[in-house]
Amino acid sequence: MKILFFGNLREQLGTGEIEVPLAPGTNNIADLLEALKQRGSEWQQALSTGSLLYAVNQTMATQSTLLKDSDEVALFPPVTGG
């Protein structure tokens, strides 16, 4: 599964994209966030903010959105365009 990070979150994690296999037990965005937090203290800290937004296959998603291995997931802070 491809996971993209944008904005301040990308800088905090030091990467804009990772590729990880969908682990057994990772069914939705909430599960994925918990799994990513295990990657280290920067990840734990950066992903614990309550204001993060999620997209699955370039459509806004929620913590309960179900995932499959072929999905493109994106995690990012609130948007500030315009």
Binding site: N8, E11, A55, A74
Partner: protein
Amino acid sequence: MITIAVQAADFDTGQEIRQLQADRTDVGGIAIFAGQVRDTGDKPLGFMHLEHYPGMTEASLQQTAEQAEQRWALIDIRIVHRIGDLLPGDQIVFVGVSSIHREAAFNACEFIMDHLKTHAPFWKKEYYRDGSTKWVDAKQTDQQRYARWHQHN
């Protein structure tokens, strides 16, 4: 017709308006919003960097424009949003809407901007002249403006 452009290059507001007028006699009016980089913070701004999510950005703007079309009787919608490094005073965004009557054009233009501000995946980072930087925070007032369009009366 909906026309969306996400680009590093500058755009010509006059040309965008002429495109909305082009070869039509049923257009009663055009409402536009033209946004630019402002330097009004505590520290002088050197430039602003606009990051986006290629693919989702265009899809998000398209979806917003389609929602506006469903809500009001519109003729054409043109949205241009710039990315990359922009200087104070540079243009960032253009939203133009043509319709038969002004109410639809005014409303749709504001609706599109309120949705763009809260949903289109763009992120601004400010680079100040003293060398420091800051990611721009999302504003609660933008969320409130967006929510107005979806209140059930």
